[in-house]
């Protein structure tokens, strides 16, 4: 039964397929620019880098932009921002992280070709920004309007360790549809109702998948899974860390850390943010009563993150801040959301300027049983 839903689309048809959807969706695809891959708006005729490994900056920026306007104000009157604006990467010309493009007819998103680990990260962020007490309208509105199409990994990187968490190269969590690159053909598998309807409505582009296609997919995934050879046993890590707040190991593992915050910046599941006000200074630098309240990414690795106005700081050194990052992902979130907030994408490992490896940190925490408790708490 499952296999009946599997469809095939020819790789060479995909660009035309996306082209036909441009009216209906803001289509975001991986695009190469200056040696990096970044999700950007699809333009006709530009090919998809099918074998791209992963983006440097995680696609969480699509739903939680690096900076976004919560509302603007003028002489005391508030105007909440329309969170359905078109996403554009911050460094693109004439683009802001959130611009309201009046020419664009739609607020729907089609995110095409995201890696399964990053799609899974969205399902984690949903738990935070949804939640049963307070909902975050900005994140949720964008998320609601999006169809997420992920692309299974044929070639994992050496820093990938998704299999140590809940992931695998064809992990389906968080995606509406998952694609498999079989060479000339793309195998599509709908996962959610939204994904099923999406494919049904566009049925003419697809053919039934043959047994051979499915076999090929299975073979590719087996091979890919074998290529993920690094990992760490995280069984019961939440319970282990319950007892780990005061262990002496924290004194050691933060030593290399520079506190640059790149791990949190690139992480697809790090969501901590700051809220600041910005005034418009168009009238020759004079203060006006016009401005914006802005939300932007923040990082628990910075000392200002928790500094009180009184001067007191509950996390004064790298040690406490490093501990916060690890504990938040692997202990506090499992406590609050029943989920580890890490998908094993390896961005923090690849981009750390001092080669701090999260896998090693976790492995040493997992074996902390023999270590002594820190006397000074």
């Amino acid at each position: 039964m499952e296999n009946l839903k599997l469809k095939i689309i020819k790789k060479k048809d995909v660009l035309n397929f996306l082209d036909s959807l441009k009216e209906e969706y803001n289509i975001l695809v991986p695009k190469e620019k200056d040696g990096d891959i970044r999700f950007s708006e699809f333009s006709s005729g530009e090919d998809i880098p099918w074998d791209y490994r992963n983006t440097k900056i995680s696609p969480k920026e699509i739903f939680l932009p690096r900076t976004e306007t919560l509302f603007s104000f003028k002489e005391g009157t508030l105007t909440p921002s329309d969170s359905g604006g078109v996403f554009a990467p911050a460094n693109e010309p004439k683009g802001s992280a959130q611009k309201t493009d009046s020419n664009k007819r739609t607020a729907n998103y089609l995110i095409f070709g995201i890696r399964p680990c990053d799609a899974q990260a969205f399902s984690l962020l949903d738990k935070l920004f949804g939640g049963d007490d307070f909902q975050d309208p900005y994140y949720l509105k964008r998320k609601e309007q999006a169809v997420i199409i992920s692309l299974a990994c044929n070639k994992p990187q050496i820093t990938c360790f998704c299999t140590s968490l809940k992931g695998k190269p064809d992990n389906e969590e968080g995606s509406d549809i998952i694609l498999f690159d079989l060479g000339e053909n793309i195998l599509t598998k709908p996962i959610t109702k939204k994904g099923e309807e999406f494919i049904e409505n566009l049925n003419s582009w697809f053919k039934e998948a043959k047994e051979a296609d499915i076999e090929k997919k299975n073979k590719l995934m087996d091979l890919s899974l074998k290529k993920i050879c690094s990992g760490v046993d995280l069984h019961n890590i939440k319970e282990k860390l319950d007892e780990a707040f005061d262990i002496s190991l924290w004194n050691e593992i933060h030593q290399k850390c520079l506190g640059c915050g790149i791990c949190t910046y690139l992480c697809p599941t790090c969501y901590c943010f700051n809220i600041i006000d910005e005034m418009d200074h168009e009238t020759g630098g004079l203060a006006t009563s016009r401005g914006k309240r802005i939300r932007c990414w923040d990082s628990c690795m910075f000392s200002l993150f928790t500094l009180h106005a009184s001067g007191h700081n509950p996390r004064p050194t790298f040690k406490e801040r490093m501990r916060q990052r690890i504990m938040h992902k692997f202990n506090y979130c499992p406590e609050n959301f029943k989920e580890i907030f890490c998908v094993g994408c390896g961005r923090c490992i690849r981009n750390c300027p001092v080669n701090l490896d999260l896998r090693e940190t976790l492995a040493s925490l997992m074996s902390f049983g023999s270590m002594s408790k820190d006397k000074k708490v």
Binding site: L70, F71, F73, G76, L78, P80, L128, F129, G131, D133, F134, Q135, D136, P137, L140, K141, F245, D246, Y271, C272, F273, N274, I275, I276, D277, M279, A287, S289, G291, R293, R295, D298, C300, F305, T306, L307, H308, A309, S310, G311, H312, P314, R315, E320, M327, H328, N331, Y332, E335, N336, V377
Partner: protein
């Protein structure tokens, strides 16, 4: 969907300078739109984000009491490093600001009914305790609570806040008020001594009692010993904590102590709850 980031517009009706150093002021706020009062139904011990457009926001405990109709009060200490508190202290009656909230759990007032309350405050941290005291002293509520003891200390007589209200409380016979200062002056005829020492002297009974403690960290720390000696169980001792906050709704990720968020799960915690959390506050 309700947008929790939008402040409710309010106007400053009155500003009271509370102390000699003139860096603690109480702001009386009225809602610009009458029906917003309904949106801002709060309990004692909750807080709000005070919002100044173009400046920012700051989480401040609500000093007024749910029985104060049509009016919300905040007592704010100005820190020179605090952008919002500094700007707030420059405002005049008639100026407009915003508030977001109410946030946090507040004191479990229902659980306090039928009990003796021992209220211990230090410095300007009396604010939410003042909210609670006003509430329990109100004629509609007083019968539901047993003995009420307030022990309040400040560095000097001039630094005691809510002076006229303290005097009023002192004149009532249904509340015991003990005021103390670290250093007296020529006009001060009351107690001189630190809060923990005065607590030992006053020695309120722990039988059927709860203790509510708010003050500077150092005062709270040294109050723990005498309060435990008096026989208060950890689940009968309540604190209200402070933390740097931004969103106030448990999303922005900075005010946590272990897995608990002070903005959402707090700011009121019992000593029992705190003992189970890491010491990171």
């Amino acid at each position: 969907m309700n947008n929790p980031y939008l402040p409710i517009p309010v106007t400053i009706k009155k500003i009271t300078i509370e102390n000699e150093a003139r860096d603690i002021k109480t702001f009386d706020l009225v809602f610009n739109v009458k029906k917003d009062i309904e949106k801002f139904k709060y309990t004692c011990g909750q807080f709000a984000e005070i919002s100044m457009l173009g400046i920012g926001e700051s989480p401040i405990g609500i000093a007024s009491s749910p029985i104060d109709e049509d009016l919300v009060q905040f007592t704010v200490k100005k820190y020179n490093t605090g952008v919002v508190t500094s700007a707030l202290h420059n405002l005049c009656p008639g100026d407009m600001i915003g508030i977001r909230g109410p946030y946090g759990n507040g004191f479990p007032m229902k659980d306090f009914e039928g009990k003796n309350l021992v209220i211990i405050g230090g410095g300007f941290a009396l604010t939410t305790l003042r909210s609670l005291t006003r509430y329990v002293l109100h004629e509609k509520n007083r019968d539901r609570f047993k003995d009420i003891t307030v022990l309040y200390g400040a560095r000097s007589p001039g630094e005691l806040i809510y002076k006229s209200e303290l005097k009023e409380w002192g004149e009532r016979d249904d509340i015991n008020v003990y005021l103390t200062v670290d250093r007296g002056d020529e006009n001060w005829k009351g107690r001189v001594g630190l809060v923990p020492n005065v607590l030992k002297e006053v020695a309120p009974s722990s039988k059927n009692s709860v203790a509510l403690i708010c003050g500077p960290l150092i005062m709270v720390k040294f109050t723990m010993l005498p309060i435990m000696d008096l026989g208060f169980e950890p689940d009968k001792i309540f604190f209200s904590l402070e933390m740097r906050m931004k969103c106030g709704v448990g999303k922005c990720g900075r005010c946590n102590i272990g897995p608990k968020y002070v903005c959402k799960d707090g700011p009121v915690f019992t000593y029992e709850e705190l003992q189970r959390l890491p010491q990171e506050y």
